[in-house]
């Protein structure tokens, strides 16, 4: 086992189909789509449940159930039902995104200081303004941590796409194993790991940028 595959310049040719840059690109494509779909479903649901308190058992149990669901098994089931293609992969990966986003949206809304929400209403904000100007910004730190953990999981798990004939960094693992090219397998594992860490760092930067400094545990400022 060695790093020769990873450091072979030929494998980094951006125009080469099956080269590492194109695999990264398709991998990130699955990740982005799954995060988008999962968030579009889980965020409003979590916010609603957290805001109203209705169906909170759903939010908590969906979180636990979702975590224990094997993605590969779900993917195979979807392929059996729907046939090969992008759809079963996106369903399996989106299901992975839903629990952390749903649970954190719920927890974020539940943790709000109700006196502040009362003040917002009492000052004459309409319900939508209370949500977008007060509740969401205040819940954002918790929300972002849920989204980051979802992103990490999806980056690591999106390799399953290759198991059903699609692209992504899983190709390096599956194809490498098929021909006993462990250098290729190692290259795949390393690129996925670096990608995961890189994405998390990027999201950490986004979080710093979108979350108000006033919500930090010990806000720094001119004093």
């Amino acid at each position: 086992m060695n790093l020769s595959y990873l450091f072979d310049a030929a494998h980094w040719d951006p125009t080469l189909s099956g080269g590492i840059p194109q695999l990264i690109l398709s991998h990130l494509g699955y990740v982005a789509l799954a995060l988008l779909i999962g968030t579009v479903i889980a965020l409003p649901a979590g916010l609603y449940i957290g805001h109203t308190g209705r169906g909170s058992f759903l939010a908590i149990n969906a979180g636990n159930a979702g975590r224990s669901l094997p993605t590969l098994g779900l993917l195979m089931l979807m392929v059996t039902l729907l046939g090969l293609g992008l759809t079963p992969v996106l369903i399996a990966l989106s299901v992975l995104v839903i629990p952390p986003v749903l649970t954190s949206a719920y927890a974020g809304m539940r943790s709000l200081d109700q006196r502040v929400v009362d003040a917002a209403r009492g000052m004459g904000m309409r319900p939508w303004q209370v949500l977008t100007r007060v509740e969401l910004p205040m819940a954002l730190p918790v929300l972002m941590s849920g989204f980051r953990s979802a992103a990490l999981q999806v980056v690591a798990t999106a390799t399953v796409a290759a198991a059903v004939g699609l692209s992504g960094l899983g190709r390096l693992l599956i194809d490498g194993l098929a021909v006993n090219d462990y250098s290729r397998v190692l290259a795949g594992a390393i690129v996925v790991a670096v990608l995961a860490v890189g994405l998390d760092l990027l999201l950490a930067l986004v979080q710093r940028w979108v979350v108000s400094p006033g919500l930090n545990p010990s806000p720094k400022g001119p004093s």
């Binding site: 200081d113 009492g122 000052m123 004459g124 954002l140």
Partner: protein
Amino acid sequence: MITFEDVVKVYPGGSTAVDHLSLELPTGKTTVLVGPSGCGKTTSLRMINRMVRPTSGRVLIDGRDVAEQDEALLRRGIGYVIQHAGLFPHRTVLDNVATVPMLLGCTRKQARTDALGLLERVGLSAEFAKRYPAQLSGGQQQRVGVARALAADPPIMVMDEPFSAVDPVVREGLHREFLRLQKDLGKTIAMVTHDIDEAIKLGDVVAIFRQGGRLAQVGTPREVLANPADDFVAEFVGRDRGLRSLSFESAADLPVRPLSEVGDLALDDAGRPVGYGSFTRADSLRLVTDLAIISPAGIAVRVDAEGVADGVVRHHDLVDHLAARRREQP
């Protein structure tokens, strides 16, 4: 004027929070709703800006039923101050204060400029503007809360225990600021407190509630202290209500003795008393009584505007004065 017309609030489950309340809160005055916990004072207060809806009866502002007005627009026209201030933690102090003007369509720039002026008005310097609420003390947060409520210059202020979450020294300062501001602004204020001392100090009118959401007595602080309607009110305003009522008596008419009567009175070069508490004509009889009791010699020293001693009052002068007053107004 804010009018409660036979207002009832029954919560699901059958507990009556407010029981047939009829009350008028005069324009430009501070009306304090006071009573033990569970007496319905906060529920009543929150009906003014429709945070609570009455089960029956009406709440009117200048003759218009609040139930018939747009909820958000109604609230933007009423300053709202709550316990612990309830500031938005993710917004700077300046943006907290600018909230309602911006809801009303003011530009951000204009709202912020106005907010700076308001901060100054409540005794906070411009350096606080860029801070976040978590970086302020409780008293400072409460000042920001008052500035935020005043930002759109609403004619009415609704204040729910605004000063109860801060320590007594800070509260004292906030009370002074409140009275100074209200003297300038003349808002119609409805305030809730459980502290009868605060009610008497800040209120032009005091409405005392009893358990079960019933109004026990309404009147000026002076009336309530002098003539409690019943045993509950007498008990609630406290045993030392006689002493408290002296807060309303001016020391201006109090006869003083010449300084020469007190041989050992220590004065500095400018003629100011040293080691004695002093009062001016503008102070209350309560202060004079307090000074005379504290002083080992049993005297209180009167000073003029420059702080120069111009007379003394002895213990028994005070008693004679009060007895004379009582004879005059039976």
